[in-house]
Symmetry: C2
Amino acid sequence: MHKRLSLFVLCLLGGLSAAADSKSPVDYVDPFIGTTNFSVCHPGAVRPHAMMSVVPFNVMGSDLNRYDKDGRWWSAPYEFTNRYFTGFAHVTLSGVGCPEMGTLLVMPTSGPLSVDHRNYGSAYQDELATPGYYANYLTKHNIRCEVTATDRTSIERFTFKKGEAHLLMNIGDGLTNETGGYIRRVSSTEIEGSRLCGTFCYNAQAVFPLYFVMRVSKVPREAGFWKKQPLMTGVEGQWDADNGKYKLYKNYGRELAGNEVGYYFTYNVDEAEQIEVQVAVSFVSVDNARRNLAHEQQGCDFEKVRQEARRAWEKTLGVVSVEGGTEAQRKIFYTALYHTQIHPGILQDVNGEYPKMQSADNGTTQGNRYTVFSLWDTYRNLHQLETLLYPERQTDMVRSMIDMYKEWGWMPKWELFGRETWTMEGDPAIPVIADTYLKGLRDFDIETAYAAFHKSATIPGDSNLMRPDIDEYIQKGYVPMGTYVQDNSGDNSVSHALEYYVADHALANLAEALSKKQDAKLFRQRSLGYKHYYSKDYGTLRPRHTDGSWLSPFNPEDGADFSNAPGFHEGSAWNYTFCVPHDIMGLARLMGGKRAFVDKLQMVFDKGLYDPANEPDIAYPYLFNYFKGEEWRTQEQVYRLLHKYYKATPYGIPGNDDCGTMSAWALFSMMGIYPDCPGSPWYSVTAPTFDKVTLHLDKRYYPDGDIVITAQRPTPDAHLIAQMSLGGKPLSRYRISHQELTKSKTLHFLLK
Amino acid sequence: MHKRLSLFVLCLLGGLSAAADSKSPVDYVDPFIGTTNFSVCHPGAVRPHAMMSVVPFNVMGSDLNRYDKDGRWWSAPYEFTNRYFTGFAHVTLSGVGCPEMGTLLVMPTSGPLSVDHRNYGSAYQDELATPGYYANYLTKHNIRCEVTATDRTSIERFTFKKGEAHLLMNIGDGLTNETGGYIRRVSSTEIEGSRLCGTFCYNAQAVFPLYFVMRVSKVPREAGFWKKQPLMTGVEGQWDADNGKYKLYKNYGRELAGNEVGYYFTYNVDEAEQIEVQVAVSFVSVDNARRNLAHEQQGCDFEKVRQEARRAWEKTLGVVSVEGGTEAQRKIFYTALYHTQIHPGILQDVNGEYPKMQSADNGTTQGNRYTVFSLWDTYRNLHQLETLLYPERQTDMVRSMIDMYKEWGWMPKWELFGRETWTMEGDPAIPVIADTYLKGLRDFDIETAYAAFHKSATIPGDSNLMRPDIDEYIQKGYVPMGTYVQDNSGDNSVSHALEYYVADHALANLAEALSKKQDAKLFRQRSLGYKHYYSKDYGTLRPRHTDGSWLSPFNPEDGADFSNAPGFHEGSAWNYTFCVPHDIMGLARLMGGKRAFVDKLQMVFDKGLYDPANEPDIAYPYLFNYFKGEEWRTQEQVYRLLHKYYKATPYGIPGNDDCGTMSAWALFSMMGIYPDCPGSPWYSVTAPTFDKVTLHLDKRYYPDGDIVITAQRPTPDAHLIAQMSLGGKPLSRYRISHQELTKSKTLHFLLK
């Protein structure tokens, strides 16, 4: 009783302190978190799940930058420690580990016209970023830049000093590995065009055009195209004064296409004069980009768009309320939530048109058609977050995936703006949709989804695009080395198979729910094939040859830090060995029982074999919860990892955010629940970071309403669970079902 | 009497022999004439004054070719002695000395797909060309190619051997110095796009897009884009498998833009299977290109288009009938006429739309809007030919020029598809329009034309775009060296001024006709300023400095063969010294009288200082006619030059045909009349090549009808004039007026 009382008091105090706190969730978001340390998030202006983002681009044109778009594997339009700004990119990816998009670069400059980004770029200061708004000051040009966005359009406000000024639209440069585009002059204040993007992660056929319209608020004194001229040889090279240079097309007002083209607007500006730029995009057509602009911005009102963007984030972030924790923890939490609500984003224009999957045709949708499905990452926790907090969005995401299958014959693997990029491996749509269905969201065509899953899980040979090594997988129960080598990362046979086991387990669960008992039995049996890889010699999974022999020599530590190791894709055997979330007890038996399992997993942490930013092992900390008496290890590790790797600074994410996957890990972990087995409607629990977390569930999907997770914390650093209660009843298990959680309404922790 | 009788008999015989000859003028045209020897004509399919031409392209991709598009100053899509064919170019220039156009390359291939022209090109044989039709056989691919054209569209028929076949549209390569374009897939059998062309003669701002639609007659098995990838560096370069290579976009069906892009259609074809390709173009829009195709080709009927093309040429060439002469001479004659009726060509689409001069806007015309005005060349004789034989066309050409002035404020100098290219010098629209007006064609707005001429002849300073050295020209009466150096050809001061003198003389004539007496006096006086350049020391024109001093050292032979010499543009002092067609007698006085003039002019021929392919001196042979008793020298030189330089072989034109200027020289010379002073309605006469030439004049413009030029030739090689009669009356002058000629109806020569 005493404890209950004190809990009540604490809740009361928490409630009071929250009431005294006038900050809204939006105010806690720091978009600079995750903008260095290879987290590859950006501080630009974007609305939740929007098509448009407006992002400061500072990764080209100067040796002053530590990271250059063409160097290493650099994949973000912005790097916090870089210093040389070359414009605002329109439409970017957040937290993605391959360079893509990051073009349509709008740059304001002053002084004589230069269209060479090695010259016109500028250092900057006074950066400011809040959800939906970014500002800086260009010290070379003395220009204040402010940008904000609607779902499919941007508005940018530039405040100049008196003198000559220019607005540049550079469609030649960008992060993307594709090149080429065209610009057409529409009027003195408007241009339109398109830019090819794609070859994402060097998948050569995953390409698509990004259409745009750009409008300026003031008629320029002069305007024109530019193009960097290809090098000519011979007489032509000698006589063409622009050979190999940036050429200005000064008296030409029609259209220009090429690899490195742009358009400039030149002005004489007064002191403090402001000129606004609007950019609208579409993946369907220039006309649709213009429609998007007409629909989303009537006229040209920067402040209105900025306020609307803030309100959009207030609505999205307001789904969770937290009390307690430090200011920094609240920043980490809400910024993580912010990062999870950027991708997938909408693909359709205001008229509902979108490019059909892998098609030259366009479709029309009523609801939202989502795109940017980084499923190998996000099937692990991000879609579980959507299911819990944004069930309407998750339903539309599932519908979008099913529509892709209808359009193209396959579920997405890593879908990008209507193209399958074949990045990473597995059959990740299965755990996503199975998980969603099993958690009770069912307003989509599950039979069609099931047909898609059954197809990719069973059809043999080369016609199986989703599982290129299906024959061996079915025949042998595992994928031998060398069966299918997709790209420069070498043999990934074990990684492939592990994903199929996870998918087939999820498919078995779904089949069961759909009363397809034979299928359920078949796929569940297949999901256990991971045992083929278990090497008693090493106590890890280990690649095998076609004849069943083991890869030798073998070192389970090979492949750490994204170096190539046979069998494992971007990871070591240690990063993958426990990645059998659907049969932890079976894995433990293989390893020699509970003690051996727990000791080995503990050793992974103790010896630094755990990578906090690599998806296959991110559920590891929660696996101790399977073993009675060992759950404190989960609490210790989650507490340690959160404190060590997640910070309210630009360094605050341990690596690629992967479309919010790392952020979702932190977010769930701070709430005290984690979906450790995709495709199973369960959460693993740990000690929450906050004293009180209220999940304002959508009553259309969860009629029981809010879930309140509370924690009584005798000391500030208490992070071990002493006692728990669920719906007011004592709880001794450390894994709870989705239904238990959503119906119980309260989950309470007494910490120690 | 005896002579008259025999003449009658000869005429009768001539008439009989003509009647026996079933060949039409079209049959005498050999489009291979002028396709080597730097004449830069082409054997492709084109209709009279058409926008479209379909031309075999054999100037890239192989060291087997003697001439490569990027080598030397090569400027033609085709060279007779080259052997490596890489497709059919769509829209080309004929006889132009700067590389331009020659893109939209359609190539049929067989065997495995290659999109690299260094691989897919082929040797060929069995070439056949007649007006409006060209065919060859690709020996590498075993494909018979046939092409024909309407005014704005083409149709191409390819006959394959059984097997794999491809149709390629390469918009990356071409003669033009500009680069870049885009292609959009419209359907399985249609693509559209545009290609930037221009920077003609390295005038950087003279650029314009060429829009196109391409249709194939059979649905391909497979189709897609290609693009040569720019070289990447660093990690990107290592990981992108297509880095620096031709990349195929196999599963992508939207659009592609860039520097080196194309599209392929792949088929399985049966033995002897034919597939047709249609290409339509426009300088306004892709939609207009499609309109042009719909209007000019209903359906897809190769033979119909081919027959229509032949009929179009029959109508045009039928304006002149010749009798007598050798088969070779008739070939030379009709091929020359053919070459004069290619440029200027129509610019407007079937709906009348065309790109306004130097504008991003489009205009609409009722009549033909002409383009490709190589006026520094064609003012000398080609427009005089149009005025005489095709007065309706010439009227539309003049109207087009006046409309350019209305649209842009200036007359054209070297206009190319709506852009002024500023190639060569002078004010050549004045002699063209003055000449036309003075010859009685007056259905155009002469007052507006006069306003344009007055403007360019008088307004001072930098705002005078037509005459950049106007101030010095007016103040000093000549242009001093270094006043205005336009391009890589160095100082052209004398050439500039000489053109102004010619123009001001024509303008004086026009002013007189318009009763502007004061203007007439002013401009006539200015036209005599050439005397400032006459150097008694050298007996030639000679460049002068601003202080009046002469260029020293000086060699009047410098500048021959298109080497640079100060003062003279693409020529020596000898090529320019007699280029004062409006004041030959004054020039003779300067030189010391008739004898000195005649001897010096004769020496120019005797010492090989005459260039038969350089415009400033092409009237030289006719200048002897100014001096009584010396006219035989004209007859000798014209006869010699015709025989030496004009042949019925690919080598049959002495140099750049310059949009038909060389051909017009031959044509007039073979008819026995030559317009030796542009802007004066006079012809100089010489012995004609044929026994009878009938000019079927357009009675709407020349109510007196046909002109018949006859020659009585006692021996086959008689080429000196013994006697002449005009309208039946004896003629002793060797210069006759346009009115005399057109009203007299007959011009008879007795040769010796």
